[in-house]
Structures are given as C-alpha cells and as structure tokens.
Amino acid sequence: MPNNPPILEFKSGSFSVPILVLFTDDLKAIKQQLQEKVDLAPEFFKKSPLIFDVQKLNKQGHSVDISALVDIMRQFGLLPTGIRGGNAQQNKEALELLIPVYSVHTSTTLPDTQKQKIVIPEPVADINTTATTLITRPVRSGQRIYASGDLVVLAPVSAGAEIMSEGNIHIYNTLRGRALAGVQGNADARIFCSDLQAELISIAGNYKISEAISSNVGKKSVQVYLQGHTLIIQDIV
C-alpha cells in the first residue's frame, strides 16, 4: 500500500483583525455610529471579521446585551468572530452564539484595585506577540519543528532534521541539520549556535549550504546574521 496522502494539518498563523472597542452601552448610538463608519467604506466592512472589545464598557460599570450587539453588527454585514474583555456572563452569552472568547492581558478575576494598575497593551502589539518555543529533546533526522516566535533548542539537531522559526533560533548544542530563521521574511532574525555543523542555514530566505560554510566554525559559539543578502557567520566571544 502506498503512503497515504495527508488529509489535514494544523498550522499556526496570525492575522490582523479589526477590533471594535465600545465605550457605551447605548445600542442606538452604537448603531448610528456604525452606520456612519460603514457608509464611509462599505466594501471594507462588508463580510469583514471583527472582534469586539467590551472591556472599557465594563470598567464604567455598563453592561450590554451581547446578542443584541451581535445582531447590530451583523446587520451591517460585519462578521463578529470574537469577544474581548467580557465578564463571565458576557463570555457565556457570546459562546452560546458560537463567538469565541479572546483574553486581554488583564484577568477579569482580579479585584478592582489591582485592575487599575494594569496597563492595557496596544491591540497591535497584542496580536504580534508570540511565545518562545523550547525544545529539550534531540531533534532527530526527518523531524521538522516550526516556531512562530523564537526557537530555543537545548539538544542536538541531527542531520536530516529541519528547524524553522519566524524569529531567532538559538541552539545550545550541535546543529547538524537545517536551521531556517526569519522564515516569514524577518531579515533581522539571527541564528545562534554553540557548534555549527549545519547542512544548511538560512535567514529570511538567504541560505548557505554546508559546502559553503567554512569547516572551522564548528565547536564554538557563533552567530549568523544577514548583511544585505549575505549571511555572515561570526564568533561570539
């Protein structure tokens, strides 16, 4: 029997989605304002996914009927795909409407006094932060690892293995396989490695194969970075 073709695969991705921040519970006013905005750029809002943020509203002690709110947004052709900053009751209502709940970096269970101190991050920064991936077991030949943030590997990476990261790659061991940093085009990404014997190294699509890598870079700590379109391998002293 031949190998089965893959049926599906989970991948991680980040999208930029507009967030509608609400300051009032006055549905009529919301409707009116929304109408004005949509009239300005009807094509932009048509069938656009949207996350609505009720945190400011809740802070002021207002509460809003989630299902009525969702109805209004849908009337304008918007597709609400998430709620943020809602309290337990609002989150529950949203989930009943099959609208996912996103967390803001503040916990709703904190007492009010603590809540005041927490600085709410800019929505843009919120979308772009991705955690560091840590690998502690050897990456074996044939294995692939993809990290959407930085990637830290404490074990050897074997020949025939492939590690990829949208950010930097740190390998505190021997790299014999392939390491590709900044795979989504981040030219500032770097590769740090304590024993570079790689088959291939790449930053933002600019690569060097093992033949082109000088053999005396192994067994010591080096960093790889991009200068123009050239990969520079440099000792870390």
Partner: protein
C-alpha cells in the same frame, strides 16, 4: 507489569533479529517469562534464528484474524521454558497487521503474566516497523558503526518520539537504548569505521552495549541457536552483558578496545 521492548533500526541487515533472539533468550534465562514476536510479516526469519521453524503452525496474522488462538500460535522454546516465540506469517504482507490486532495480542500476553515482550521490527519505517514500535516501553536501537545506519537509527528515534503510543498519549517517552553491533576496534583504528564515541556524539543516546563483529553470530544463526547461548563467544558474552545491564546490573563495557595480541601485550601497542 509487562514491559514491551522493540528492537529496531530503520536500516536492514544490522542485526535486529539476532539481537531480538539473543535478548529474549537472555531475559528468559534470568527467569522472566518472555515472548518474542516477529513483526517481519512476509520475510519471516526469527523462527530460523530461534531454531523453531519446523514447529510453526499458526502465526501472528492467524491470531489477528481469529483463525487461531494466541496459545495455539505461541511456540515454547526448546532451550528455555520461560521463552515463547510468536512467528510472523510468510505468505502475507505487512498490511495484514492492524494496530487493534497487535494491541489485543499484547494485552493478552500481559494477562498471561508475561514480564517481557520483545518485538522484532522489520527494516524500514513503514507499517510493520510502525506497529512493532507503537506500543513499546523500551527501544533497543540497533546500529552498525557506519553513517547510513546511524542516520537511519536517528530517523527511527524521531519516529519513536513522535508516533508511538506513549508520544500520542503524552505519557513518559519510550526509553531508548543504543546497541552498537558488528563493531571492530581494529577497523575503527584504521578509520574504516565510526567509533563508539562518534556514534554516541551523533545519536546522543544511552549505550547499552557493543557487540563485536564475530563469526559466532553467523554460526549461531545457521544452527538456529541464539548467539547468547554460545557462552564462549565474544558476541554471546556481549549480549549477556547487555541483558544484565538492561535488568539493572552494573557491568563495565567490553569489546570497545582492541584485543591485544601476544605481540601487543609485550610492546603495549595501541
């Protein structure tokens, strides 16, 4: 508790079946009730190495398809009564095996108080090899000291850590042990072979033992006697050491250094 051991390598011809037979015999001789299963459906060999080929009636595929009971298919070894062999089918191929079927056999063996089950994996990374390792608790990775074998072992280790039952269910990972077979210190010295250190450097794996290249392995295979029964041979002793180490004894490694001949003894050659 039954402990399931898979003897695997990725590459063919490195000594998986020889090792399976020797390990199973060694563990059984220490008084543990042991079964050894041949997963190489279509290329049945274990029965030859174990010297029971003339007593095979039913095989693992018959058991999976309900054409025979496990008791009917298990062959009791003639040297050691704690050891049982479940042969592979010669007339079918690996697709005749199923995960549920293999799982049921292993459960049944556990219910029969088997302490160790040794799964002799076929070469490759396809279905037979996959099923042989899927339920394993321990993996004996058999590697020859040459680059192709080392790379294939590395690939197999990747599969062990991502596609086994333990990996899928998020349990404690399979314990992996390195067995370096067909080792010849003389050939390492003249640079024809990778050294133990080279292989360990690449695979970063716990070394369970080194089996020296030995004529006794071929002789044993041809006569249907697991090589561990040949206590005079270096390969037999190496396997006995490995079994002892696996069962928790502390044995120093042997067969890594060159045997010094009479000339060497006098002059301390290296």
């Amino acid at each position: 508790m039954t402990r399931i051991i898979v003897v695997t390598s990725g590459k063919g011809g490195v000594g998986k079946t020889t090792t399976s037979a020797a390990i199973a015999m060694g563990v059984a001789q220490k008084g543990h009730k042991t079964a050894v299963i041949d997963f190489d459906v279509g290329l049945r060999n274990l029965d030859l190495i174990m010297g029971c080929e003339r007593r095979v009636v039913y095989d693992i595929v018959n058991v999976i398809y309900g054409e025979a009971t496990l008791n009917q298919a298990l062959i009791r070894d003639k040297h050691c009564e704690q050891l049982y062999i479940l042969p592979a089918s010669q007339t079918r191929d690996k697709d005749a095996l199923s995960q549920e079927g293999v799982g049921q056999i292993l459960e049944e063996l556990a219910a029969k108080d088997f302490e160790y089950v040794v799964c002799d994996s076929p070469a490759g990374i396809e279905k037979g090899a996959h099923l042989a390792m899927y339920f394993a608790d321990d993996a004996f990775v058999v590697t020859n000291p040459e680059v192709a074998s080392v790379r294939d072992s590395d690939r197999m280790l990747g599969i062990l850590s991502s596609k086994s039952r333990r990996a899928e269910q998020g349990l404690e990972p399979i314990k992996e042990y390195l067995l370096l077979t067909r080792y010849s210190p003389e050939r390492v010295r003249i640079g024809e072979m990778l050294s133990v250190a080279d292989v360990q450097d690449i695979l970063s794996l716990h070394l369970l033992g080194v089996i020296p290249e030995s004529k006794s392995v071929l002789t044993a295979s041809n006569s249907g006697m697991p090589v561990i029964l040949d206590e005079k041979s270096d390969a037999g002793q190496a396997y006995a050491d490995i079994v002892a180490r696996y069962l928790g004894e502390d044995k120093p490694h042997r067969f890594i250094e060159e045997k010094k001949g009479l000339f060497g003894k006098f002059f301390g050659s290296k």
